[in-house]
Structures are given as structure tokens and as C-alpha cells.
């Protein structure tokens, strides 16, 4: 008799461990720097600009070339192909030619027998700069009109009329800081020359195909001359999407020129100086609203520091605009977005990709509105949620059809005892002179799909060997998020075999070509579907073969519990596979997937850029010290919708990890650039990501039990990589709530992110002054 479903090990929806967990803890999970070093390998050191904006008048590298251990010095002039490693805009020179535009910009590279030799040699360079005025801040760039592309505007209705007719009107402004990725494994590439001038590159990258294309571009060779491989990264978070091409291209170029393997591993300080970060924003708003707090008209103006080049900044700032509404129906709205060019490192993708900044902005606006009206911000949030037709269209013209924000917020408020705790906090604050508490409940609605429509495609390659073991490959990369195990579960489920029979293999451009970055939370949505397609192709052939061989209708053949059932006959999966092999059936297949239904017109900023939305809500309670600004998160409760999760344990890890990373962004992680444009926080001694004790004292995370994707995604799951980061908005708004308690009821505090102790003390001091007036 056919057995029940889901008796296999590692089916979808099961709590499977990360496939590399055992290797992680044993210390034998291999990262690129752990690979054995060939004896003739060279180490590459990258020399960086010391000036934020300057013309290079003279570069004398003779002493560098003649230094001990040096095999090769690379300058812009040594590049046989194109001196560009940009994702599309053509404005990211691999090595500076005449102009340098940030402190940290690569100028030349030294390949030597050891990294110390390469570094010591680079010190001998004689470079003369002629400096130009540098714009290092958003304000300077805005004043100078310095931008990487024209201002973009999105909106609907008549915001001017909405604002003019509103009984209440409020303007405000605040700033949102950037964030360094601080992946624990720094940027690294390891290139080995191949015959015919080809090259193989191990690159710690989320985007092997783009690295491949750019390496070929730099070498002046066709794409098929370059193979890029990555088994795992020690963290990515968006920081290994575009920037790894720099290091891959330099090491590949040195390898091809010297005929020797070349490794380029950045020191932490160089990594932080040389590579881009989350964009910092200036956020200005003008909002009109009625006495119940319903938004009647709004104009939002965002300005982002993009740094020296275009990189992915257009799409990142677009995503900030797409999330300027968060879960709220803005109605008459105008969203303006400035993309400032500055003489600082080119900012890049970072978990959330502009979404967090846009979303934090509208939460801040609603919080300010609530202060003016003397109401609980949660009441205003609930009032402004997307709703029935007439209140369900976003500023970019997409109808919101899968909205569960209200249900999540109501459930969370009830389960986390919001109302009673609000009263307890009020009492605490009345009784405490120096410590104040605050609380905020904020929702998240995050759009899923690359907003550049053509990127929403993926490929996979599945081999079934004659013994029934399976080789799985796809274009997605593993950076710790558990993508590989999730996709393996999809294949295990489809073949109905234990996941142990599936070998998860390194991502390589030689197996699956033309892939998109593992980014935009899309990894399992896209690659899971592509792998499913590949598995179904093979399964279809097996069914056809079995139907023919056993003379049985195809619909009477099923795969269950490591077996294939042909009517009442039971054959082990491996046995059927072997029979198929002997009968010359192809047991290898590619798979492909493209996301349906999406379209977008960037010129008008209208369309359906997202296949669906992810939702979540969090409530955080904090305490601040108004003498010092010190603060802690006392408790956070999260309710998050991951649809029908492919692997709830992995998803819980993404939710908690994303939340803590977002909390770091909004509290302790402060990027400080000095007036010359030099980053002063370039190592963990000065740049402070959360550590274990920063985790809220009490943390309760739940998955939304009713969660199910309304769209036909892979097993009705939802993406999970980015959305939870924005649950940390609750921490920032709770801190703002605590600061607000210092003033009178309708006093509106100004609090910039990150809310460091200093920022909080200054905001408190400001509130005390306002209250005294």
C-alpha cells in the first residue's frame, strides 16, 4: 500500500537544520581563505586614495615594483579590457585613472609573495594629488546639485489640495544613518589561471554571474573564459552583491598576467573603507490630517547619500519610495527622491535595499502626528492602514490584495498586552525622575520581487545518478540564510526521497548561467521554483518510462517515501532510477522560473513591481537614562508572516537575526565620516554592531499561523530575508516614545537614527528646553 505523505526526512515545511551546521561547529566548513594555498600563490594588496576628490598629478610606482617579493603591480593602464566594474552604469573604474572620488578608492594593486610584502611595497608609492572641493554630506551635495541621476517623483491624487484642506498640518525632518554590513568574513577572491588565458575565480559573492561578466569585461574576454564559484559566504547582507567584482577582477587580472594563483583578502579596515554601505537619508515631510489622525495629504522628500557612483542606487532609492507608504494608505501623496552624489564610498545594497529608510520615515511621521493630537501612535497606525477598495492602491498604482497587517497588529497588541503595558509605562515614568520607558508597535509590509523586472528569473540543474543519489545546483548562493537546505527540501519533497540523498553543491557559473543576485529576499522563491522545475522534468521522464515499462497509466504512478508506486507495485526510487538509466533515459535536467504577473514602468513610476507583500509586526519596550542617554530594549514581541514556511526553524533564525541587525542600525551602529570624508569607524573597535547582551531581555517571536501566500509561490511560502529587519523600527519608535515622555503631552521630539546614547541625551535635552518654554 502506498504510505502516507511526509514520511521522508527533510520534506518541505520541516524544521531542518542548516545543511552546513555540523561543519560550521566542527570548524571544517570551508571558506575561501581556508582553501589550501598553492606554493606559488601571490597575495594582492590594494592601495587606496588618500583624498576624497582629487586629480592624480603623478603616480611613481618604481620603488613599489622593485620592492622585495613583488611580482606585479597593476594600474589602470594594465587593464586589457574595460576599466569598469559597475553593475550597469559604467561609472565604477576598477582602478582610478586621473580622478579619485573617495578616500579608499583603489588606485593600484601589488601582487607579492606575501601580504606583508605587498603592503610594505605599496607604502613606497609616490603619488601627488591636486585636491578639489569635496561634497561628503547629503546637505553639501543637495546644495551643489550633485546627483547620480535626476530626482524621481511618485504619487497619486492631489497632494497640494489634500494638504491645503486638512484641519491639521505638520512639517518635520530627521536623519537616518547608514550601516556597514559587517559580514564576519571580509571580501575575498582567489583566482587561478587556466589554459587559453581563461581564469577560475573563487569569489565570496552573492552574484556570481555579475562577477563573471565583469571579470570578463575587465580582461577583455568573452564571458565563457571566466568561471566563478562560491560554496558559501561568511555573511553577505547585500554587501557582496556588486563590490566583490572589484576583488575578483583584480585577482583574475593578476593571475592571468603572472600565470600564478592570486589571493586578495581584504583586511577589515580596508574592507570598511573601500566598500559601500547602507545609504544614509535626510527625510522631510509635510502632512495634512484630520482630528482622528487620518492622513489627508502628504508630501515626502527623501535625499540619500549614494556616494561616488551609481552602483545600485537608482533601484535602492526606488525601493525607498515603494516603501514610503509602509502599510498605510497615503491617498493624495507626492514622494520625491533625491539621489545625491558625494565624494564618499559608493553606497550599495543592504538587507532591505532602501525599504527600511522609506518605511522608518512614514512611521516617524505618524508618530509625530500622534504627538500633536495627543493620541496613542498605535491608534493612528491602525486608522491609516490599507483597507477596502478606495483605500487599497499604493502611490505606485499597485492594488494591495494580500493585506494582513491589521490582523497581525491586533493579534500582537492583544498577545503582548499592549494596553496594560502602556498604562504601566505611564505610571513608571511618573514615578521615575531619571529613567523613562517607551513602547511602540510598528508593522512591516515589504514588496517581494526585484523591481527591475527582468532580474526575476532563475535556473537550476539537477542530476540523478544511476544509484539514485541526486546532485542539486542552482543559481542562488548560500550566505548563511539557509537557502541551500530549503531548495534541497523542495527537491526532496518532489522526488519524495530523504534529503540526505541530495548533494548540495557550490554555486558556479559553469553549471547555471545568467543568474540574478541572491538578493531582494528572492533566493528560495526563485531558485526553489527553478529546482522544482528541474526535478519535475526528470520525474516526468521517470513516470513516462515507468508507464511504458509497466504498462500503467501515468496518473496511477506516484512517488512517496523513497519509493515509486506503480499502481500497487512498489519500487525503490533508486531501483527505478537504475532501470531508467539502463533504458537510456536522461536523468539530468535544467529548470527555469520567471516570476509571473509583474510589470513596471519606471518613467511614470506606475505598475505592479511586486508579486506579493510580506507582513509582520513588532512591539518593543525600552528604557532610557535621561542623564546619559544610555538605553536598553527590555522586551520585544514579534508576529511575522512567512506564508507556509519551507523551514520554520530557518525562518525563525532569519526573523531574529534580521530584527537584531535592524536594531543595530537604529541604535549603536554609527558611521562617522570626518570633514575630509574619511571614515573614522572602520573596524569593530569603533563600529559597534549588537552583541549578545544587546538582545532584548525578553524576546517572543511567533510565526503567523494562518500565513499562506495568496500567490502560487513555492509551496505557498513567503520570502523572509529582508522584511524582519524593519521590525526593528519598533525599537526606534519606542526610544522616541521614551524621549517624548520627558516633555509635555503634545511636544514633538526630534530623534535622528541611529539613536545612540548621545543622540538620545541631546533629544532629551531638547525636549526639556521645549517643555520649559
Amino acid at each position: 500500500m502506498p504510505g502516507k505523505l511526509s514520511e521522508i526526512k527533510g520534506a518541505v515545511h520541516a524544521d531542518l537544520r542548516h545543511d552546513s551546521a555540523h561543519k560550521h561547529v566542527a570548524g571544517n566548513a570551508v571558506y575561501i581563505d581556508d582553501l589550501p594555498e598553492p606554493k606559488d600563490m601571490l597575495h594582492l594588496y590594494v592601495a587606496m586614495s588618500e583624498k576624497a576628490h582629487a586629480t592624480i598629478e603623478k603616480v611613481d610606482l618604481d620603488a613599489v615594483r622593485s620592492a622585495k617579493g613583488v611580482a606585479l603591480v597593476l594600474t589602470a593602464g594594465d587593464i586589457p579590457g574595460h576599466n569598469d566594474v559597475s553593475p550597469f552604469a559604467g561609472d565604477d573604474p576598477l582602478l582610478a585613472e586621473k580622478l579619485v572620488e573617495y578616500i579608499g578608492q583603489p588606485i593600484f594593486a601589488v601582487a607579492a609573495t606575501g601580504i606583508e610584502a605587498a603592503r610594505a611595497a605599496a607604502e613606497k608609492a609616490d603619488i601627488t594629488y591636486r585636491e578639489h572641493p569635496a561634497f561628503t554630506t547629503i546637505d553639501q551635495a543637495m546644495e551643489a546639485g550633485s546627483a547620480i541621476e535626476p530626482m524621481q517623483t511618485m504619487g497619486q491624487g492631489d497632494p497640494d489640495a489634500g494638504l491645503a484642506g486638512a484641519p491639521n498640518r505638520l512639517q518635520g525632518s530627521f536623519r537616518i544613518g547608514g550601516q556597514d554590513h559587517f559580514y564576519l568574513e571580509g571580501q575575498i577572491a582567489f583566482a587561478t589561471p587556466q589554459e587559453d588565458g581563461d581564469v577560475h575565480v573563487y569569489s565570496s559573492t552573492q552574484h556570481p554571474s555579475e562577477v563573471q561578466h565583469l571579470v570578463a569585461h575587465v580582461l577583455g574576454r568573452p564571458t565563457n573564459a571566466v568561471t566563478v564559484e562560491v560554496r558559501r559566504m561568511g555573511g553577505g547582507f547585500g554587501g557582496k552583491e556588486t563590490h566583490p567584482a572589484i576583488f575578483a577582477a583584480l585577482s583574475a587580472l593578476a593571475a592571468v598576467k603572472t600565470g600564478r594563483p592570486v589571493k586578495l583578502r581584504l583586511d577589515r579596515d580596508d574592507d570598511m573603507a573601500m566598500t559601500g554601505k547602507r545609504h544614509d537619508f535626510r527625510y522631510d515631510y509635510d502632512v495634512g490630517f484630520d482630528n482622528d489622525g487620518n492622513i489627508l495629504g502628504i508630501e515626502i522628500e527623501m535625499a540619500a547619500r549614494c556616494g561616488r557612483s551609481t552602483d545600485l542606487s537608482p533601484a535602492i532609492n526606488d525601493r525607498a519610495m515603494f516603501h514610503a507608504d509602509n502599510c498605510y494608505f497615503l491617498g493624495h501623496s507626492r514622494i520625491k527622491s533625491h539621489r545625491c552624489k558625494t565624494h564618499t564610498v559608493s553606497n550599495t545594497a543592504f538587507r532591505g535595499f532602501g525599504g527600511p529608510q522609506g518605511m522608518l520615515g512614514i512611521e516617524y511621521v505618524i508618530d509625530d502626528m500622534a504627538r500633536v493630537l495627543g493620541k496613542d501612535p498605535l491608534a493612528l497606525r491602525m486608522a491609516n492602514l490599507y483597507g477596502e477598495p478606495g483605500r487599497d492602491v499604493t502611490p505606485y498604482g499597485m492594488t494591495v490584495k494580500d493585506n494582513v497587517a491589521g490582523e497581525l497588529m491586533e493579534t500582537l497588541a492583544r498577545d503582548a498586552d499592549y494596553a496594560a503595558r502602556r498604562e504601566a509605562i505611564r505610571a513608571f515614568n511618573e514615578n521615575n525622575k531619571f529613567l523613562k520607558k517607551g513602547m511602540a508597535l510598528t508593522p512591516v509590509k515589504f514588496g517581494i520581487s526585484f523591481t527591475t523586472t527582468h532580474l526575476n528569473q532563475a535556473g537550476a540543474l539537477v542530476h540523478v545518478y544511476a544509484d539514485g543519489s541526486v546532485h542539486l545546483n542552482h543559481g542562488g548562493t548560500e550566505m548563511g540564510q539557509g537557502l541551500f537546505v530549503k531548495v534541497a527540501q523542495v527537491v526532496a519533497e518532489e522526488f519524495q526521497i530523504d534529503v540526505d540523498h541530495i548533494k548540495i553543491t557550490a554555486t558556479t557559473t559553469a553549471k547555471v548561467p545568467n543568474t540574478s543576485a541572491t538578493a531582494a529576499s528572492s533566493g528560495s522563491d526563485l531558485n526553489g521554483m527553478a529546482a522544482l522545475d528541474a526535478a519535475r522534468n526528470i520525474k516526468g521522464r521517470l513516470i513516462e518510462f515507468a508507464a511504458d515499462k509497466y504498462d500503467c497509466p501515468k496518473d496511477r504512478i506516484s512517488f512517496r517515501n523513497n519509493n515509486v508506486y506503480i499502481e500497487n507495485k512498489e519500487i525503490a526510487f533508486a531501483d527505478l532510477v537504475n532501470q531508467a538509466y539502463l533504458n537510456r533515459i536522461s536523468l539530468s535536467a535544467t529548470g527555469f522560473y520567471k516570476t509571473p504577473k509583474i510589470h513596471y514602468d519606471r518613467a511614470s513610476h506606475k505598475g505592479r513591481p511586486f508579486y506579493y507583500f510580506c507582513y509582520g509586526a513588532a512591539v518593543s519596550e525600552v528604557i532610557i537614562d535621561i542623564l546619559t542617554g544610555e538605553n536598553r530594549v527590555l522586551r520585544t514581541d514579534i508576529l511575522h508572516d512567512v506564508g507556509r514556511s519551507l523551514n520554520p526553524a530557518i525562518d525563525m533564525g532569519q526573523i531574529e537575526g534580521g530584527f537584531i541587525q535592524g536594531m543595530g542600525w537604529l541604535t549603536t551602529e554609527e558611521l562617522v565620516f570626518d570633514e575630509s570624508g574619511r571614515l573614522r569607524t572602520h573596524a569593530p573597535s569603533t563600529y559597534k554592531i549588537p552583541t549578545a547582551s544587546d538582545r532584548p531581555d525578553e524576546m517572543n517571536i511567533s510565526l503567523f499561523e494562518r500565513g499562506r501566500n495568496v500567490e502560487a509561490t513555492i509551496h505557498r511560502s513567503k520570502a523572509v530575508g529582508e522584511p524582519p529587519l524593519m521590525l526593528a523600527n519598533s525599537v526606534f519608535l519606542a526610544l522616541k516614545d521614551a524621549v517624548a515622555s520627558v516633555g509635555d503631552d503634545t511636544c514633538v521630539p526630534t530623534l535622528n537614527a541611529p539613536a545612540t546614547a548621545e543622540e538620545i541625551l541631546m533629544a532629551v535635552s531638547d525636549m526639556q528646553k521645549k517643555a520649559a518654554e
Binding site: R17, A26, G234, E656
Partner: protein, 495 residues
């Protein structure tokens, strides 16, 4: 006795001997690039991320004391006479995971896995040290291990799982290791001569075993770098890429490892680690214990020393302001003679200390609390754990009959050296300890400091918060109001 030129250490039960190793090669680089033990990772090369965490065992009578350290900033010769344990050491001979490793798997404690070996080693050390660790102790044990993926919850769960399980020590194995360490304990100076392959220059390393031997070698090499825990000097090599020609390591000097109780004061030898000093000082002054707990991480405190924190003259070291506020004195030694100065006088200006050629810091003498003396210490930093102070304010206040009869107020981070707030002290001394007096002290403090703006804080914040800390000290010494957002049993009042 002739000097030795060979370091010996135990790894996986085997004795490793290296003749004249490069004196400033880090343990991490040796493991990764010479021994191909790549489980231990480099995340920052400055002792801040913990990916390089290994455990070092030191002979402690008939046992071995195991402590987590940062392999990225420790030089190979400090391993001499010790046992080294890396993540590769943990699995059983049949390949089975160690319970710590298994717990990390069970709780989904790894995501990208890069920080994981270091976390495993920190938990391994915690499990060896403190089976009764509570939530705070677990977080403290992990404070020096940054994880960017998990948010720490699953790792904390793993810690709870192993602490709740039976002890894992194999006593038979321990005996063999104790015997091995005893066998190669060194009784003469270690003297290494290395060569920089790049420059051809000679690098020398001396590790005397007695204070007399140390005094001699320091006089012979007055320009040598004195190395204690290496948590600062290590960075000169890994971050500033400096070439240290001559290094004198004091970790083997037995007299400098001692903490001596003299009745009214305790003397802390210059080689005593923060970890060892923390409990002793915390017993006298609870806030000083907590302040030391917030210096670096467990790994840093296991290596770094109070003596080094003083000797390097940094304006942002946390122990000097606290020690100055309680009136500590410093004993300096040169040749066979010693002199004693008040600790505050040691700090002359930025980068300039009262240290003569051929002289070294021998110990610091810390007076015990007197009747009616209140001590408070506050550290302000962006992050509570494992951060460097923006402002560190320390208060030694004697209040008799409601009158401030003695005030020693010292700040770090406010000037080019740890500096007393003499105007503020004068404004409150002899006055009734009232809010009005505290406010007068705050006002007077504006004359004491002209702080700088840097990446840790602005000048405005430094001065504003420094003044407010005097108010906090006032509130804490006169009422039971809640004053601290982070409270771990020190003197302050929990929030």
C-alpha cells in the same frame, strides 16, 4: 641557567616545539597558514570580533585553568609552557561532536558559520569555568564574539543546553596533560632571535621568569616594547604593521602575577589580568568590578592586564580613572630600586608618562574603602559590552554627617590623560551633600575639561554627560531612586 630559545606547547595531547619562532607572528596566522588549521577565523585582527577565539590552558597546581583568548593578537611565544585548544581539538577521536558543538547544531546556533568556531570555543571555556553561569554570565561570555546573522538567541540557548548537562571533562586525559605541562615548565629566561624575512632585520624576544631577571633585561634594552597581555601591543603589529625589534614579555614573571593583601590596601602585580583583578577589586568596590567587566570582552580580560592599562598611558583606559578616584599608588622599578608615586602623577600628558629609562611598572597599590567612603564608576559608550569609553567617570566621595569631607573625581575620555576634576572637587568639598552642591560641582566641572569630538562622542555630549554623572552619583549616594538601565549587582540602583 642558560636561556632557552625554544617554545613548547601542548596541542591535541602532542608536544609542539618551535625553535626561534618569529616573535611577533600571531597564533592565528600560525594556525591558519603554517599548520593549516583553518577552523579558527580572522574577522578583524584586533581582538574585537572573536572569530579567532581559542582556549589556552595554564597549569594551576594539579589542574589546568582554561581561558578563552583572541588568537589574532597574541604572539606565538606566549604559548610557551601552555596548552592550546582550537575548534579542531574538540571532536572525539571517533569524529563525534563535542557537547558544545552539538548544542550549537541542535539550537540552530549557526547561520553563515564564520563566527561559529569562535563561539564554540567561548562556550567551551565557559563550560569549563562556570557550570552555574546565569543569563548575565552567558551574555558576558559571548560579549567578545560578534555574530551578524543569528541575533544571538539560539547561541544563548546552546549555552543553556550545555550548562545544564553533565560535566564533560575526562579526568584521565587531564592528568596526562598536567604532567606534560609540568614537564616542560620553564625556569630560565626564554630568549628568541627571529628574523624579518622581508627586511632582514633581527627581532628579539625575552621572557624572563623573575622580577630581578626582568629588571636586568629592561635595563639592557631600554627601548624594548614591554609586552603583558598583548591586547594593545598586538594591534601595533596587526593593525599598524609596526616592526617590534625587541619585545620583553612579563607574563612569565611570577612576582608580577601576584595579588597581595596588605590589610589596608591590595597590591596588584603588573602582570595580573583583568579577569583575576576583577573579582578582587569588585569585592572592595562593586562598581570597579563592573567597570572592569566592561573592559573589552572575556577574551581581552583574560589576556589584558591592569598594569598594561596603566602603563600604556591611554586617556581612555578604564581602570586608571577608577584607581585614581580611590587614591591608588603606582610602584615603578628600575634595576634593584623601586619608587612609589600617586597614580595620577604617572600621567603627564598625551603619550607622556612619568617613566624613566630602564624603568617599568611593577604593581599598583589600591587602598581599601574607608568609613563613609562611596565609590561610583560610570562608563558611557555606544555599546554596553566590549566597547571603549566615550566618557568614564569615577567618584570617590567621603560623606560624613551629610558633609562632603573628601572628593576624588576622575574622568577618562575628557582630556589627554585620565584627569581629576579639581574644580568640581573643590566646589563640593566641605559642603553639605545636596542637590545644590551637586549642581555647583557640575557647573565647576566646565572649568575642568575641554573635551574633544571624535568618532565616539562629541565634545558637547562628553561635557554634558560628564556633568550629569555627578548628579547621578549624588542621587545614588543619597536616595534609592532607580538610576541605571543596565544593572548587574554593582552599587547602582537597578532600573
Amino acid at each position: 641557567m642558560a636561556a632557552s630559545n625554544t617554545i613548547r606547547f601542548l596541542l591535541d595531547g602532542n608536544l609542539h616545539e618551535i625553535e626561534n619562532p618569529d616573535p611577533t607572528e600571531t597564533i592565528l596566522n600560525h594556525l591558519r597558514y603554517t599548520m593549516a588549521r583553518t577552523g579558527t577565523k580572522e574577522g578583524c585582527a584586533e581582538g574585537d570580533c572573536g572569530a579567532c577565539t581559542v582556549v589556552i590552558g595554564e597549569l594551576d597546581d594539579d589542574s589546568i585553568r582554561y581561558r578563552a583568548v583572541n588568537a589574532c593578537i597574541l604572539f606565538m611565544p606566549v604559548l610557551d609552557g601552555k596548552e592550546l585548544i582550537t575548534v579542531e581539538s574538540l571532536r572525539a577521536s571517533d569524529g563525534a561532536l563535542h557537547p558544545v558543538q552539538q548544542a550549537m547544531v541542535d539550537t540552530h546556533g549557526s547561520q553563515c558559520g564564520f563566527c561559529t568556531p569562535g563561539i564554540v570555543m567561548s562556550l567551551f571555556a565557559l563550560d569549563k569555568k562556570n557550570k552555574n553561569a546565569d543569563g548575565n554570565a552567558i551574555e558576558d561570555a559571548l560579549a567578545g564574539n560578534l555574530c551578524r546573522c543569528t541575533g544571538y538567541g539560539p547561541i544563548i540557548d546552546a549555552a543553556k543546553q550545555i550548562l545544564g548537562s553533565a560535566a564533560t571533562e575526562n579526568s584521565g586525559g587531564l592528568k596526562a596533560r598536567v604532567d606534560a605541562l609540568k614537564k616542560f615548565a620553564r625556569h630560565q629566561t626564554l630568549e628568541l632571535v627571529g628574523r624579518n624575512a622581508l627586511t632582514g632585520t633581527t627581532k628579539k624576544y625575552y621572557a624572563p621568569v623573575s622580577i630581578d631577571g626582568l629588571a636586568e633585561v629592561v635595563e639592557q634594552h631600554p627601548n624594548a616594547t614591554i609586552l603583558a597581555g598583548g591586547t594593545d601591543v598586538g594591534l601595533w603589529v596587526t593593525k599598524q604593521h609596526r616592526e617590534l625589534e625587541t619585545v620583553i614579555y612579563i607574563g612569565g614573571v611570577s612576582e608580577l602575577q601576584e595579588i597581595e593583601d596588605h590589610g589596608d590596601a591590595i597590591d596588584i602585580g603588573a602582570g595580573v589580568s583583568y579577569t583575576d583583578a576583577m573579582d578582587k577589586l569588585g569585592a572592595l568596590y562593586p562598581d570597579m568590578g563592573e567597570l572592569i567587566r566592561r573592559i573589552g570582552s572575556v577574551q581581552i580580560r583574560n589576556s589584558g592586564t591592569i598594569g598594561g592599562n596603566i602603563a600604556n598611558g591611554s586617556p581612555i583606559g578604564d581602570s586608571p580613572p577608577a584607581l585614581i578616584a580611590v587614591g591608588a599608588t603606582l610602584v615603578l622599578r628600575k634595576g634593584s630600586s623601586e619608587r612609589t608615586i600617586s597614580l595620577e602623577d604617572y600621567f603627564i600628558d598625551y603619550g607622556k608618562q612619568d617613566l624613566r629609562t630602564g624603568e617599568f611598572v611593577a604593581r599598583v597599590s589600591v587602598p581599601k574603602p574607608k568609613a563613609n567612603q562611596h565609590f561610583r564608576a560610570y562608563k558611557l559608550s555606544k555599546r554596553f559590552d566590549q566597547d571603549i569609553s566615550a566618557v568614564c567617570g569615577c567618584f570617590g566621595l567621603t560623606i560624613e554627617g551629610g558633609i562632603v569631607t573628601d572628593a576624588r573625581i576622575c574622568y577618562g575620555g575628557m582630556a589627554a590623560t585620565p584627569k581629576r576634576a579639581s574644580h568640581a572637587e573643590a566646589a563640593i568639598t566641605g559642603k553639605p551633600w545636596s542637590e545644590e552642591t551637586a549642581r555647583a560641582g557640575m557647573k565647576a566641572m566646565e572649568q575642568d575639561y575641554i573635551p574633544l569630538s571624535d568618532m565616539r562622542a562629541s565634545a558637547d555630549y562628553r561635557l554634558m554627560s560628564a556633568k550629569n554623572l555627578l548628579m547621578k552619583a549624588f542621587v545614588e549616594t543619597t536616595s534609592s531612586a532607580q538610576t541605571r538601565v543596565l544593572a548587574r549587582g554593582e552599587a547602582g540602583n537597578a532600573g
